[in-house]
Subunit: 480 residues, 2 copies
């Protein structure tokens, strides 16, 4: 793989110039580019470029890049679209090649002027061998380098990278996944992909030691066969989870007016996923759910799950949801059933899978025994613990949920025979004690690295995609 | 339709006997049957039946039904399964025919004893022409009659009925839908369907003036052709929304161990929905979402939506979600585009559908103008207002969300050309001001009868099912 060493400089700059910098407006969510970068604690030197100011926010301003006294690792351009060509020429004249164009108003407008303007800046960028992130994008978020151009963003670094054509998705996904405890190595919002495309970032992330899982939001791609080849290769060691936008006719039209990309048809992308083994997801939320599973769970041997919970109707729903997601919910072996029958009375409890076992969910020591028995069943590859918080809260005023949470976050790990397990919860009432119990459960499990999901369908989807990935991997290895 | 007048008595009893009544255990969520009924404020007379007590919770207890001094409109049986046959014989001997068997442990156990026991009580019930709800179920919830056998339940009555084979679903759905402001006329949890089946309740609800929309959770059905005929007929005037459990192989196994029913295959049920025009949903949550739309929205002329929101990537996701749900997201007419261009600047705003229009979402008067223009577009049948609360909160510290909520809950109704509109919101941050804004928005809109959904996919599904229903209805009328 041909990794571009200059991207490493761009992602870890010591000098940044902001072309078209304006004063920070405090009290608003969006601080302006300069405000975002400074508030996040960027430790390097920042050069505001503005011909009409001597100083901006206490920083000496320069009329252009040529007048800046040192090389710039990352030039961020946020002047109006019509002024972008001149700014790029200034980059070339000053010998600065790493550029993020924040400005919108190009090909994505679908209007003649914007299309023409994009063609013009593309020619300028190519003539000067510029490395351009954008235009029409939010740019880079690298917690370790204290670099970000949006707010808010976590200062903690993590193992997940996000490559996205949508700037809105960049912030939204980082915020949402952040709630699940997911932290990022790098997030890259690259909009219209003038020179740098998804494949360039993928090459970089393949070698990035910090990145263990790669998530992507794609609208279009310039070189499909290169993407396929790269994804297929990188995916073997770093799971690649892709949300492809615009797979419906209406979505494809929206893609054209968003980043001016050609979305490609559903058939093409179905083949892409089948050949590459990349993990396909249908929403940002699903991408976070699936990333959470990859982050914390090991390799399952197959796709057969045991569901341990309470409730008959919800057991049916759980089985349907698992099967629809692509999991199997097999009957337990006669041996397992016999063992369970040893301490689970038949009245009010069904030990058929999905298990509807109030007596077990209501007693930690029985729960432990049940997990040990079920997880050694040779027909079971993974476990879902399905908690009905309303009921659990009623049987012991919330205390029992706290005990269960602690058990699931700690000892359960030793009682599941190294098989992946996740927790799903549902809650249909809104009393404060339930809200508290829910938050506590969620936080304690995530802190301990146990994936936890609201509702069984989300848990099922995450486990199914995990199983898909490792099944593809196994097949590839067998064929190799 | 042959409506059973005795069901009216059963649903509005003046006398109730609880066979196997035990003392209320205060401080727990589940109060016991007697505790539930009394706390809910049942105004009639209650007779605890217990041969070992002279008095229970301050009520005179009787050794059996025969010794009770007056006829009983509803007998509720909660003795152990083995004692149910005797209790049913007591019903027959005392001339009381309306029975709810709460007790589980019959056919659903899959074990020889339970199957045999169910056969026995079925024969007894038939010999005495008993009308049995259950066994293995939660029974009846009729707010107007102050009748309920579970906690908690709203005392308010409403236009939606729920017929369910799952007792867990009964409480969960009532609680969940209640959060969306949905109130119930009747909810019936009927478990194993010993004598009374879904079709009996459907016949009753068809004539029930209080019920405008019927929701159902079905696992199995005794007389499929009768159900089809009934649903087809009733659905023409009262939309019937059905969640069918056990359509996958795993789900069908779970159905067998839940209510001892035969689930039937996916093909059979697909044909059922196609022929009956009933609205098919895939989860309790979806059932509530769809019911909310039917409750508040009028008849759309078709399935073409305009999406008014902000964000490019989210616009793509919105278009994909609508198309996947079965809606169309057409381009607006040139006339509409020209009108919008009159007050929407091109920079940073896309007026192609889905609209990405920060300037409009940030200004109520422009928003009003835009709604008026878009809703008279002949290519548009319905509108989705898609709110990004994180952004809206940032632009005006939450105040703007309050103004938008008030506008959408009041005047917007007059600016949408009588076309159905719903609101979807998304929020990826967790600051308290956002939580507050979210709650306020949700409550204000629901109070005003404007359907509001977390996330566009849920809104899209609700509108798609609404459009499906009225399209079927139109076709039926044309053929008639």
């Amino acid at each position: 793989m041909a990794r571009d060493p200059d991207l490493e400089v761009m992602f870890h700059p010591t000098t940044i110039a902001v072309v078209g910098a304006s004063r920070t407006k405090p009290g608003q969510g969006w601080l302006g580019l300069l405000g975002c970068i400074r508030r996040f604690g960027f430790p390097g030197r920042i050069y505001p470029i503005n011909p009409n100011a001597a100083e901006i926010d206490g920083l000496k301003a320069y009329p252009n890049l040529v007048s800046v006294p040192e090389p710039i690792d990352l030039v961020i351009i946020s002047v109006p679209a019509s002024a972008v060509p001149a700014a790029l020429k200034d980059c070339i004249a000053s010998g600065n090649k790493n550029v993020h164009i924040f400005t919108a108003g190009f090909k994505e407008t679908g209007e003649e002027e914007g299309v023409k303007l994009q063609k013009e800046i593309e020619e300028i960028a190519q003539s000067g061998s510029l490395r351009v992130v954008g235009p029409n994008c939010m740019g880079l978020y690298v917690p370790k380098a204290r670099l970000v151009t949006w707010t808010p963003a976590s200062a903690e670094s993590g193992a997940v990278a996000f490559v996205t054509q949508s700037g809105g998705h960049a912030g939204d996904f980082a915020n949402y996944a952040g709630q699940l405890g997911i932290r990022f190595s790098k997030a890259i919002s690259y909009g219209n992909a003038l020179t740098l495309d998804s494949t360039d970032f993928l090459e970089y992330l393949a070698d990035d030691a910090e990145t263990r899982i790669i998530t992507m939001y794609l609208e279009g791609v310039k070189n499909g066969s290169k993407l396929l080849r790269l994804v297929k290769e990188v995916n073997r060691t770093k799971p690649i989870i892709i949300l492809k936008g615009g797979l419906t006719e209406s979505g494809a039209r929206a893609v054209a007016s968003h980043t001016g990309s050609l979305a490609g048809g559903d058939n093409v992308w179905s083949a892409f996923f089948k050949q590459s083994g990349a993990v396909r997801v249908n929403s940002l939320e699903e991408m976070a759910d699936v990333a959470l599973a990859f982050l914390h769970l090991g390799r399952p041997q197959g796709r057969r799950v045991a569901i341990v919970g309470t409730g008959g109707g919800i057991g049916v729903a759980a089985a349907d949801a698992c099967a629809s997601a692509g999991l199997e919910v097999p009957a337990l072996t006669p041996h397992t059933l016999k063992e369970l029958r040893g301490f689970v009375p038949p009245a009010g409890n069904s030990i058929r899978n999905p298990l509807d076992v109030e007596v077990i969910l209501g007693d930690i020591s029985l729960f432990e025994r049940a997990l040990k028995v079920i997880s050694v069943d040779p027909l079971i590859d993974m476990l879902v613990i399905s908690l009905h918080l309303d009921w659990l809260c009623d049987i012991a005023q919330g205390d029992h949920i706290a005990k269960l949470a602690t058990y699931l976050a700690t000892s359960a790990r030793d009682h599941t025979n190294n098989k992946p397990y996740v927790v799903s919860w549902r809650c249909y009432r809104t009393e404060p004690k339930l809200e508290q119990a829910r938050t506590m459960l969620q936080e304690e499990l995530l802190r301990a690295g146990v994936p936890v999901y609201q509702g069984l369908p989300r848990a099922a989807t995450a486990l199914a995609r995990l199983a898909d990935y490792y099944q593809f991997d196994k097949q590839e290895r067998q064929q190799a």
